[in-house]
Amino acid sequence: MPRKTSGTVIVVGASSGIGQALALRLAHEARPVAILARRLDQLEAVAKDINDKVGATRIYPYEHDVTDIESVDALFKKIEAEHGEVDELHFVAGVMPEVALDEFPTDKDALMVQINTIGSMAWVNAAARRFLPRKAGHIVGVTSVAGDRGRLDRPGYNASKAGQDTHLESIRNRLWRHGIRVTTARPGPVHTPMTEGLDVPMAISAEQAAKTILKARDRGRAIVYVPWKWRLIMFVIRNIPSFLFRKMSV
C-alpha cells in the first residue's frame, strides 16, 4: 500500500526492541531514518547492522536522553538540516522498572512519567508544531495495553502509559482535521529487553509488533492493539466494574 509519507523519519528509543525492529522496516522504505537513544554505542551497532542489511546508509544514529526535553527542538532541527524534512515520528522509548506489590516508589514513578509520558509529549509536540503548518505528517506513539486500566502490579507504569495515551488522543483530535495522522499503538506483551526475565504470557516478537504497527500506519488507523486480539481482551478488561476489578489479580 502506498504511504503518504516519504520524507525523513525519526524513531525515538531505537537501540533495542520494538524501536529497533521499526527502524529496520523503515530503513527499507527508501528514506533516511534518524534513530535516537541514550546508549550511543548500542545505537551505532544497530545502525551498522541495519545499513549492512539494506546495502546503503539509511540509518543515522543520534545520542539523546529523553528526559532532556530542553534539547528536543534543537535535535529535531538538526535532523531536518542533515537529512531533509521529517514527516514521520515514532515515539517508542519507555521504561518499566521492577516494582514490588508492597512498594510505593515515587522515584521510579517519576522516572516512568518523565520518560514514558513527558518524553513522549515533548517529541509529539515538537513534531506537531512542524507538521501542522505543512498539513502533512504522521505521528506514531507506542503506548501499552497497560494504560487502559490501573492494575495492582504497576501503578506508575499504568499511569505513565495512560497519560501518554490520552495526550496522543488529544493531539490526534487537534491534527486529524488538518490531514495529519496520529496512530496510537498499544502493544500487549512483547519480547524485548524491557520484558527480559519477566513472565510474559502471550508475548510476540518485536519484529511482529513492528510489522503490525506499520500496517496500521499504512491504513491510517487511529488506535491499534498489537496484536489485534488485545482489542478484545482489553474491551473485556476495560468493562469490568471497579468493585470486581479491585478483587481480581489481573
Partner: protein, 471 residues
C-alpha cells in the same frame, strides 16, 4: 580479388532497429581475408566494420556500401589460466569468453548488459560495464591488439608499441582499421556468484548520493530509474549493488564457477517460456501501460530490498538485456540516448533532461544510471561523473522526428555542461557536436591518424559520415 570473396547483399540494421539498409556483407574467417577485403573496398561508400551488431544506432551501418562482419572470426587462440590472459579473435563474444574462462576462475573485467557483443566491437566502442567507476572501460583491460589498416599495414598496438594508435583504435569506432586479434586481461573470481542488494531509491539525488557513498565499497553499481515519476519522486528507482566474494568467503559458490551454473534461466518462475515475454511487453507498450509497469517495478523493489542481500550468479547479475530474449522487439524501433555528465553538474542536468522528456511528452520507457571515471582513450565517452541511458521508442514518422528534435535539444544541455556521448548508443548527434565532445585537439589528432592509417577514407559508417563529415 573480389571474385574470390563472397560479398552477399543483406539487410544490415542497428540493434535498435531504427536505422539500417542493404549492404554487401562479407564474413571473413581469417586475417588474410580481412586484409584483402580492406584492399578491395575503395568504392564511394567504402566499408564498415561490424561485430555482433549490438550498437543501438548506426555505428556499424553502411547502406549501399560494404560491411565486414567479423563474427566468423571467433576463435579463442590461447588462454593463460595462471594470469587470466586471453588471446582471441575479434568476433569472440563476451559469452564465449566467459564460458571459456569461468571454469578456471576468471571473468571478463568489463562486461556490458548483453553477453552477445563481440570483443572486437567492445574494444572499438570502448564499452563500459556497471563497474566503470572502479576499473575503467573495456580498453583498460586490453593488453595489446593487432590492427589491419586500409593503408595495408599490420600494426601491433599496446601501451608500449604504437601507443597513440592503441589509444585511438580503442574508442575509435572502427575508423582506423580492423582489429584482427586482441589480448585481454580477465579478473580473478573465487565464487560463481556475488552478494547483491536491491535498494529502492526515492528520487534522483538519493540515487546520485547513494552511488557516491557506495562506490568505494562496491564492485558493481547500477541504478534503474522510473522516468515516468514526477515532482518529489522524479528520478526514483532502484539501485543494484554487487560485491564479489573474496577467496573462501563463499564455499558453496565455488562449484558455480561453471558455464552451466551461470546461465540465466530459460523460463520465468520455472514455467513460462521466456520467449513468450516479449509479446507481452509489446502489448503493454502499445497499450500505454509502461508508466504502470514502471510503478509496479518500483513497488516490487521494496520486496527485493527486504530480502537483500542475496547471492546471484555473475551471468544473472550482468546480462539483464539477455534475461528476456528479444525484448528489443517489444519496443523497436528504438534508440538510446546516453549522456555522460561531469559529477558536479549531474544533479541539475539529469533533472533538466527528465523534465524535458516530460514537457515533450516523450518519456523513455527505461532509464539506467551509472558512475564513470576518466580514461586515456582518445575518443572516449567517459567522464568523472554519471551517465543516464534513456531508451526512446521511435515508431512512426512524427514521433521519430520529435525524438530526434528532443535529443538535439537535450544534447545542447549536456554539451553546455561539459558532457560527452557514447557512439555505441548514439543515433542522433550532429557533426557540430563532435568537437564540443572531445575538444579540438583530440579531434585534430584523430583526423590525423585517420589520414595516416586510412588515407582514402575506406572505413565509413552512417555514424562516421554523420559526425566526421563525408570529406
Amino acid at each position: 580479388m573480389s571474385s574470390t570473396m563472397n560479398w552477399r547483399s543483406e539487410s544490415v540494421r542497428g540493434w535498435g532497429d531504427s536505422v539500417g539498409g542493404t549492404s554487401e556483407v562479407l564474413r571473413p574467417t581469417d586475417q588474410g581475408q580481412i586484409v584483402d577485403a580492406l584492399a578491395d573496398s575503395h568504392g564511394p561508400r567504402g566499408v564498415a566494420l561490424r561485430g555482433s551488431g549490438c550498437s543501438y544506432g548506426d555505428a556499424s551501418i553502411n547502406p549501399d556500401g560494404r560491411v565486414i562482419d567479423f563474427t566468423g572470426m571467433n576463435r579463442i587462440l590461447d588462454f593463460d589460466a595462471e594470469n587470466g590472459i586471453a588471446r582471441v579473435e575479434p568476433g569472440v563474444t563476451i559469452r564465449e569468453l566467459w564460458c571459456h574462462s569461468i571454469g578456471q576462475g576468471f571473468w571478463p573485467a568489463v562486461v556490458p548488459g548483453t553477453q552477445q557483443v563481440s570483443v572486437g566491437g567492445a574494444a572499438s566502442m570502448n564499452i563500459h560495464g556497471k563497474n566503470n567507476y572502479a576499473v575503467g572501460t573495456f580498453g583498460d583491460h586490453i593488453e595489446s591488439l593487432r590492427l589491419a589498416t586500409p593503408s595495408g599495414e599490420l600494426l601491433e598496438c599496446s601501451r608500449k608499441e604504437n601507443v597513440d594508435i592503441f589509444h585511438a583504435v580503442v574508442s575509435g569506432f572502427g575508423m582506423l582499421g580492423c582489429i584482427t586479434e586482441l589480448e585481454l586481461k580477465l579478473k580473478k573470481v573465487y565464487s560463481g556468484r556475488m552478494r547483491v542488494w536491491g535498494i529502492p531509491t526515492r528520487d534522483l539525488d538519493d540515487n546520485l548520493s547513494m552511488i557516491e557513498d557506495l562506490k568505494d565499497e562496491s564492485d558493481y553499481l547500477v541504478g534503474w530509474i522510473d522516468l515516468h515519476a514526477k515532482g518529489k519522486a522524479l528520478g526514483r528507482g532502484e539501485m543494484h549493488r554487487a560485491v564479489q566474494f573474496k577467496q573462501g568467503e563463499d564455499p558453496d559458490g565455488e562449484s558455480m564457477l561453471s558455464p552451466d551454473r551461470q546461465d540465466v534461466p530459460t523460463t520465468l518462475f520455472g514455467v513460462v517460456p521466456k520467449g513468450w515475454i516479449w509479446p507481452g511487453m509489446w502489448l503493454a507498450h502499445h497499450l500505454g501501460f509502461v508508466p504502470m509497469v514502471n510503478w509496479a517495478k518500483f513497488q516490487a523493489g521494496f520486496g527485493e530490498g527486504w530480502k537483500s542481500p542475496y547471492p546471484q550468479t555473475h551471468g544473472a547479475f550482468h546480462f539483464l538485456l539477455d534475461y528476456v530474449p528479444n525484448w528489443n522487439r517489444a519496443f523497436s524501433p528504438l534508440i538510446q540516448f546516453q549522456p555522460f555528465i561531469p559529477h558536479a553538474e549531474a544533479s541539475r542536468v539529469l533533472r533538466r533532461l527528465i523534465e524535458m522528456c516530460h514537457d515533450a511528452n516523450l518519456v523513455p520507457y527505461l532509464g539506467v544510471l551509472k558512475r564513470h571515471r576518466v580514461d586515456k582513450f582518445l575518443m572516449t565517452h567517459a567522464v568523472d561523473g554519471f551517465s543516464m541511458a534513456m531508451d526512446f521508442y521511435v515508431g512512426g514518422a512524427s514521433r521519430r522526428k520529435a525524438v530526434w528534435e528532443l535529443t538535439h535539444r537535450m544534447a545542447e544541455v549536456v554539451l553546455d555542461a561539459g558532457g560527452r556521448f557514447y557512439y555505441a548508443k548514439d543515433a542522433t548527434l550532429l557533426e557540430s557536436s563532435f568537437e564540443r565532445i572531445h575538444g579540438s585537439g583530440a579531434v585534430e589528432q584523430f583526423r590525423a591518424l585517420k589520414d595516416r592509417l586510412d588515407p582514402d577514407g575506406v572505413l565509413q559508417t552512417d555514424l562516421s559520415r554523420r559526425l566526421l563529415g563525408s570529406e
